[in-house]
């Protein structure tokens, strides 16, 4: 006690930090950094787990989808539209390539494979959650012959580009590549 008092008194007079000050700060800092480091595992555990990440790819045989038909498949727990577009739908989408779009993209860009090679225009493969708040839009609604999200009224055209309503962007493409003539691998 006496030494401590003397040391503190000494520090007070000279205004110089003592060895004890250094130990206090070093110990406090080590404790704070250690505590903060321990927080991270408890935060990070909530991120998608390894098995969830491992589900990240799926294969699908497109020959099951007739022209004018749409199927919804699951990829990473999320629905994906696989739409076999009719010639009229493709034409309608191409006709609108030039108009002012909220999230500009040509129809050709909307059927691009994830490796950058062109896809097949008749197969539109997009993630099915509305980019507004995640509802699944239904085909055949809205003024553009594509999808309408009933939740908040977003309208997509036949290339799944946003044309009206609150959604900020086009339905994102599901990253796919053709592994055979009619088979795609998503993810």
């Amino acid at each position: 006690m006496a030494e401590l008092a003397a040391e503190q008194a000494g520090a007070g007079e000279a205004g110089e930090p003592t060895r004890r000050d250094f130990i206090y700060i070093a110990a406090g800092a080590a404790g704070a950094i250690g505590g903060a480091a321990l927080v991270w595992p408890f935060v990070d555990q909530m991120n998608p787990a390894a098995d969830t990440m491992a589900l990240a790819s799926t294969e699908y045989d497109l020959s099951q989808v007739a022209e004018g038909q749409q199927v919804v498949i699951m990829w990473r727990g999320l629905p994906v539209f696989v739409r076999h577009r009719t010639a009229a739908e493709i034409a309608a989408a191409r006709r609108d390539d030039g108009v002012a779009l909220k999230d500009p993209a040509t129809d050709a860009e909307r059927v691009l494979q994830s490796d950058g090679k062109p896809g097949k225009p008749e197969f539109m493969i997009v993630q099915a959650n509305c980019t507004h708040l995640g509802c699944v839009p239904t085909f055949g609604g809205g003024d553009f012959g594509g999808w309408l999200c009933a939740c908040h009224g977003s309208v997509y055209d036949t290339a799944a580009r946003i044309r009206g309503g609150p959604a900020p962007t086009n339905l994102p493409l599901a990253p796919y590549v053709y592994t055979a003539d009619t088979v795609v691998k998503i993810g």
Partner: protein, 496 residues
């Protein structure tokens, strides 16, 4: 708390305990001898009702957790099993689900009461902010609890709300995936929501203790909004406030029981009796009724504000609607607490209450529902000379377009060259929500700050006792008779 303790241990055991853990002293000083303003009305019983509801929810919830299975494959069925097979499961499940609604009924009454009587003003700012924290925790708890039955509304409500976080620039997507534990609402989400739904009520209980502590430091506000000046202004908590709270609670429980036994699903959605299906969105997703006003504010922002897009704007507006409550003590400039003596503020308050209710109604409607329309959609078919050859109309754009097409087909090819459309003016739910949202924020950010500087309050009574006696217009009891009894010695009060 205020004044010295009046507790006197009655028995040898109480004396023994009092010097080791003065818990009986604390209880006596807080809930027996504690002086409460003598003019408290029934709006002031909702604090006690809320404490009771928290206990109801925790007890019924702990029991439900014994039977509930937090897994996407079993959650829906386990809730059905609770309702059908578990002994009295139907009762306990109904108590818990209706109880959530009743909890919010009580908290909204409690909040509006605080707003009306100025209970947020100095020295009760911390008390008010703690209340806001409790409310936020309640919202989070209720949201996560609603996901657990794993019905369609559970799933899609959770999807919509977690997607809100995706609106945050840069880190939004990461936060979303972090919260969901995957790329979509799934088993990981259900499990963590169950865990947190179990945890948060205990946080609420903890903050509630701080809330009551702050209340007992500053003393209760009252309908007159003036501080007690003498003993004449207060009565002892027990029996006066205790009994009044008990009567209020009984009336409240009547309403609670009515819902539990006769219409347990009246406040929910039929869609939630369909098991969650990630491939099919219900046509109309709405949150539970108690969150509808904020949902309406979220949807009201359907336009970009400078660099903020509409999605982020809606999210910000929704959080700001709750956030503004936290700074309310510093927004209201009036020195007068109770709106009883602020005639103009009182009218704005009534408008505000109506606005909140109307926002709730808007939140439950489809946003594009037309409330007012100046006339039909008119389509004029024009021939190549520019003359109008036919006019058709319809209540919606679709109907008018179809009618026009039919008429064009009937006229034969190349008769009608062009079609001119005249659109009526339409007032939709979204536009009504925008007006109401504007007033909601104006009340806090314009009315309360400016009104306090300009208004002339009416005569405020000198003391609480005077306000009561004047209100009842009766003869004054000699020397504040209600207070002649001080429960110091535990003796029964003298017969009046």
């Amino acid at each position: 708390m205020s004044g010295e303790s009046t507790y006197t241990p009655g028995s040898a055991f109480e004396r023994w305990l009092d010097v080791r853990l003065p818990i009986l002293r604390l209880a006596h000083d807080s809930f027996v001898a504690y002086p409460t303003p003598r003019n408290l009305n029934y709006w002031y019983t909702f604090g006690a009702i809320l404490s009771f509801m928290l206990v109801v929810q925790i007890v019924s919830g702990v029991v439900l957790a014994m039977h509930y299975v937090a897994h996407v494959d079993y959650a829906f069925d386990s809730v059905q099993r609770i309702e059908r097979d578990v002994p009295y499961g139907w009762l306990i499940q109904n108590i818990h689900s209706v109880g959530a609604s009743m909890f919010f009924v009580a908290v909204y009454v409690h909040m509006f009461r605080g707003l009306y009587y100025g209970s947020y003003k100095a020295p009760r700012e911390v008390l008010w902010i703690l209340g806001c924290v409790i409310y936020l925790l309640m919202v989070a708890t209720a949201f996560m609890g609603y996901v657990l039955p794993w019905g369609q509304m559970s799933f899609w409500g959770a999807t919509v709300i977690t997607n809100l976080l995706g609106a945050v620039p840069l880190v939004g997507e990461s936060i979303k995936h972090w919260l969901m534990g995957g790329y979509a609402i799934g088993n990981a989400t259900l499990n963590r929501f169950f865990s947190l739904h179990y945890l948060l009520p205990f946080l609420i209980a903890g903050v509630s203790i701080l809330h009551v502590w702050a209340l007992h430091v500053s003393g209760q506000n009252n309908p007159a909004g003036i501080e007690p000046k003498s003993k004449e202004d207060t009565v002892a908590f027990t029996p006066y406030a205790t009994m009044k709270d008990a009567v209020g609670l009984c009336l409240f429980l009547l309403m609670f029981a009515l819902f539990v036994f006769y219409m347990p699903d009246a406040l929910g959605h039929a869609d939630n009796y369909i098991e969650a299906n990630p491939l099919v969105t219900p046509p109309h997703i709405v949150p539970e009724w108690y969150l509808l006003p904020f949902y309406a504010i979220l949807r009201a922002i359907d336009f970009d504000i400078l660099f903020i897009d509409s999605k982020l704007g809606g999210v910000l507006a929704m959080f700001a609607a709750i956030g503004v409550l936290f700074v309310l003590p510093w927004l209201d400039t009036s020195k007068v607490r109770s709106m009883r003596y602020r005639p103009v503020a009182r009218q704005f308050f009534i408008l505000f209450a109506i606005t909140c209710a109307a926002l709730g109604w808007c939140g439950g409607q489809t946003p594009d529902r037309v409330l007012l329309q100046t006339g039909p959609y008119v389509k004029e078919l024009i021939d190549r000379n520019g003359a109008v050859i036919a006019t058709v109309d319809g209540q919606t754009a679709d109907i008018a377009t179809r009618a026009a097409q039919q008429r064009i087909n009937a006229l034969g090819p190349n008769v009608a060259e062009t079609v001119r459309t005249r659109e009526p003016y339409r007032f939709t739910v979204t536009q009504l929500s925008q007006v109401l949202t504007a007033f909601y924020f104006a009340f806090f950010l314009l009315v309360l700050p400016l009104l306090g500087l300009r208004e002339r309050p009416t005569q405020i009574p000198d003391t609480i006792a005077k306000s009561v006696l004047r209100a009842h217009d009766g003869p004054a009891p000699a020397g504040g008779k209600a207070l002649a009894y001080a429960p110091r010695d535990g003796a029964p009060p003298p017969e009046a």
